[in-house]
Symmetry: none
Subunit: 139 residues, 4 copies
Amino acid sequence: MLLIDKLSSKPVYEQIIEEIERNIMLGVYKSGEQLPSLRELSLSLGINPNTIQKSYAELTRCGIICPAPGSGCYVSANAIEMIRERARKKLDTLSELARELAVLGITEEEMREAIGLAFGASGENGEMMKGENGYDQSK
Amino acid sequence: MLLIDKLSSKPVYEQIIEEIERNIMLGVYKSGEQLPSLRELSLSLGINPNTIQKSYAELTRCGIICPAPGSGCYVSANAIEMIRERARKKLDTLSELARELAVLGITEEEMREAIGLAFGASGENGEMMKGENGYDQSK
Amino acid sequence: MLLIDKLSSKPVYEQIIEEIERNIMLGVYKSGEQLPSLRELSLSLGINPNTIQKSYAELTRCGIICPAPGSGCYVSANAIEMIRERARKKLDTLSELARELAVLGITEEEMREAIGLAFGASGENGEMMKGENGYDQSK
Amino acid sequence: MLLIDKLSSKPVYEQIIEEIERNIMLGVYKSGEQLPSLRELSLSLGINPNTIQKSYAELTRCGIICPAPGSGCYVSANAIEMIRERARKKLDTLSELARELAVLGITEEEMREAIGLAFGASGENGEMMKGENGYDQSK
DNA sequence: GTGGTCTAGACCACA
DNA sequence: GTGGTCTAGACCACA
């Protein structure tokens, strides 16, 4: 279920966080449901339990999951809301990166195209993709 | 001339690279001109010469500067071209970040606004206010 | 495993790069396998870890190895391809050196013999003895 | 007369040596003739006299030029012979480089082509170029 | 444990 | 003076 690339430059613990967030957004993990245990994930992903523990701790800190001591971790009631909040903070990173690129001569248009790629677009059809990012956001 | 934040999570040597690239793009350092020496920068920035050497080595590798051991470092003839090339590679990072954010429910519009900030926009992106996207942004 | 000559005029970090490339080409280090750690090599070779880090950084930049901070360095899937690519760039150095020697009166034949040495030839290059070049090589 | 590239990775003093050797091979500087003085070269090339002094010292050491204290430097009687001898030593460098490249998967054929480039060839016509390197080697 | 960054200080060839 | 290499030793985030 969780796709982890151990050779990625992105730390494994961050990948785990994103994968869990992704699964929550996709409705695979629903509010109130129990997440796989540390041991379970550790075995299935072949990853050190300490690493997974670090991811769970961060998700807990952000209010996305709730630990129930002795009985695993559960998806928070307002997990999706918290995920979007966390994502909004990452928008600052996007602005920062854009600022850097602007200094180096990259145009706003070039950046828009780069972003369009994330929406499966050719870079010209933002209008067509609105609200079609594949998530069930109705609840 | 070069603004370095030693407390930033961004490595100092990367900040130096970006600052030099920025100054080249701004025309402060022109093609063929000599850059400050390692020792000179080391003293003025209060940074170890090895760290600056690391930045210069990377800039050299990218064809942005040309070291002439014994007589200093010079801005390459095609420095600006090389800087844009290097920047274009960073656009992949932007796409990747956008993909992540899309997964977390951030819309293309939100990202465009974040990018607009890098171009001095007020955050309520110019084009978006022309009503051409059909969204009600009054609330 | 890695043969390093600290007295060579060739920088140690370059020797390490070449030795690792050589071992990959020989199949000693295979794609996906873990390389010795910085500290391990540092101890076994008696070389400062920073120097080895410099070699690993260059190999990383060329896509020959993939570091996974916290869990070691791995030989890239396409390491051999990348090594040949890197080697092809060095062919330019060979051409350049040949040009220099040509200017100084060294013939193409003499250079071919010099190269033949690298391929275990006796120095009197095989094809040349077939008399196909019309030279009298008996004196 | 002497072509020097200050930004080349090749040290300036070596470039001067090669340029003087080249001019001797071309017959521009003939045996017994006086070479330009340190000051003269320093001014015309815009290079530190110490650097030129270093080149002259090396050429003297190899018996290619002869200093006449107080009255400049002269091309040796057997300069061309000495130049070829010096060049032959560089053939070892060629062999060494070839050995390195062989290890990295470059074939003998690829190297022959690289060398052919130095003789203005397409890589296939070694036979056509014999003895046509443009030098007057009759004396 | 792993790789990555940084400092302090030395030494080198070169200009 | 210049850039380039190397060491010794510290500290960091990550696994």
